[in-house]
Amino acid sequence: AAGLAGLAAAGQARAALPVPESNLRPGTPIPENEYGMPSKFEAHVKRRRTDVLVNKQNFSDWSFTPVHQQHGIVTPNGLIYERHHNGVPEIDPEQHRFAIHGMVRQPLVFTMSDLMRYPSVSRFYFMECSGNGLTDWLKPAAKTVQQTHGLLSCTQWTGVPLSVLLDEAGVDPKATWGLAEGADGSAHARSLPIKKLMDDALLVYATGGEMLRAENGYPLRLFIPGWEGNVSIKWLRRLKMGDQPWHLRSETARYTDPMPNGKWRQFSFAMEAKSVITSPSGSMKVQRGPVEIIGFAWSGLGKIRAVDVTVDGGRTWRKAELEEPVLDKCLTRFRLRWNWDGSPAKIASRAVDSTGYVQPTVEDIQKVRAITGFVQHHNGIFPWAINTAGEVSNAIA
């Protein structure tokens, strides 16, 4: 083993390769039945709480996906970011009920087994918190992309189109909004326009191939494709139809966006086109020579059409490669091969979506919104700086 370490370090191959230890003995036998876990050598790959904004408690809190350690577009179920407002409830699926009521012809209640008898659909979508990027607008705060952009995950969502159940209940033609509410200790609730509820909203019971994890809404959650994560109410217990929004705390005092002149933008649901370089990214180290620049691009309003990358701080941009499949409202991988010559560099990416929308700079955003306090919907271009030692750091300025 010392010889091998030397080999790697010196960039030479003069030591003969010893037979790997693993060839010389049996491994672990297959247990009777089992749910597999990551290798012990990957124990550093974890969801993490914020290390910037120190929250006073961990009940109304959030944890970040290690997006820089993600491969491909599917976030493992154990690493999907989470946000909840009074901890993670433990709900027995046999006891769980979901009701539709309010402005409907016939209020209905469903057990989980009722719901699982309906035709289901499975769709790949990203999910992003409106607060993703909260701490990094005007000066660098977070060190890693997990902390700057990790309120972002992507998976295949399985469940029943909400429209099927709304049709069954018979929505009053005058109904225009619905209130979705959770069975958690905060009874988290949000008003949503009926157009979206009837369009592509899903009642989800599984992600990434298996039943939801508790922290992601087990046994039932709403999923609203392309919109801020907090409207995809977890532990969903009811949907009440009405003819106007409710204006609860979660849609007035929270999840509203500071605007000029002391105003707040309300019901700002869509996550506009955005992208970020995940490698090289904050706290990584780059070696001279060929560098694979990779990252994610996504849009809550359609497909990613193109991603451009700059390595000179925004003066020139080159079109990156997009990896198939490029799906609607789904993470898309981009990559660009670059030859780093060892001089300081500032790298960033810029997404363009199928509506023609171009990801703005922070400066562009600052012209039209207020950047203060509880900033939301930060979809600005995000730069990383590389110094002559190859160290990568947050270059927000």
């Binding site: 069954e168 209130l179 204006h247 609860l248 005092a253 605007m259 707040w264 506009e272 500032k346 300025a397």
Partner: protein
């Protein structure tokens, strides 16, 4: 091919009918713009202080000025046009019933939905009073909350994005800040 692809229409109706009465204990939301859904009941500021001291102060501080679990719940009115916006129920909530709805559904954090409606009216009134929005002798009930005009009543605008108009410059562009 020449194969039929349409499945016969099969109606799937697995839901069970339920009445609004049977859903009463779940039906806790308040339409805060006009207070629709506010229950019967009432409280006083003094009763509210008693509830607050007993069940809220440990996390929110003696006079709601902030405690071990949360920042201040008083002040901030007028701060939104300054450098540092201070968000409290007083400064931020556009309608007083927002406070009733939230306290009833979510507080105290350790025992949500444990307060009686009278207690919720009372403690709601007390927090509004600490924010200078209700007098010490106010009776707090549905009518009082509906009547109260909150400072941030007109503080909101609807989503008007896209609000940026970035262009896709490829060469000789303005450097990132």
């Amino acid at each position: 091919g020449a194969h039929a692809t349409a499945a016969p229409a099969v109606k799937a109706a697995f839901g069970q009918p339920i009445t609004e009465a049977e859903l009463a204990s779940w039906n806790i939301d308040i339409r805060t713009t006009d207070g629709a859904g506010l229950p019967d009941g009432s409280g006083t500021i003094a009763q509210g202080q008693a509830v607050y001291d007993g069940k809220c102060a440990s996390c929110h501080g003696a006079k709601a000025e902030g405690g071990p679990m949360f920042g201040t719940m008083v002040g901030g009115i007028g701060s939104f046009t300054t450098e540092r916006r201070l968000l409290t129920p007083g400064s931020m909530y556009p309608f007083a019933p927002v406070l009733f709805d939230y306290v009833r559904r979510a507080m105290p954090l350790t025992q949500p939905q444990s307060l009686s409606n009278d207690e919720v009216y009372a403690v709601t009134g007390y927090i509004l009073h600490l924010n200078g929005l209700l007098p010490a002798d106010a009776v707090v009930n549905a009518a009082a909350l509906k009547a109260l005009k909150m400072p941030n009543r007109d503080g909101f605008m609807v989503d008007d994005r896209p609000d940026t108009k970035a262009v896709r410059c490829m060469k000789e562009c303005k450097a990132l800040r």
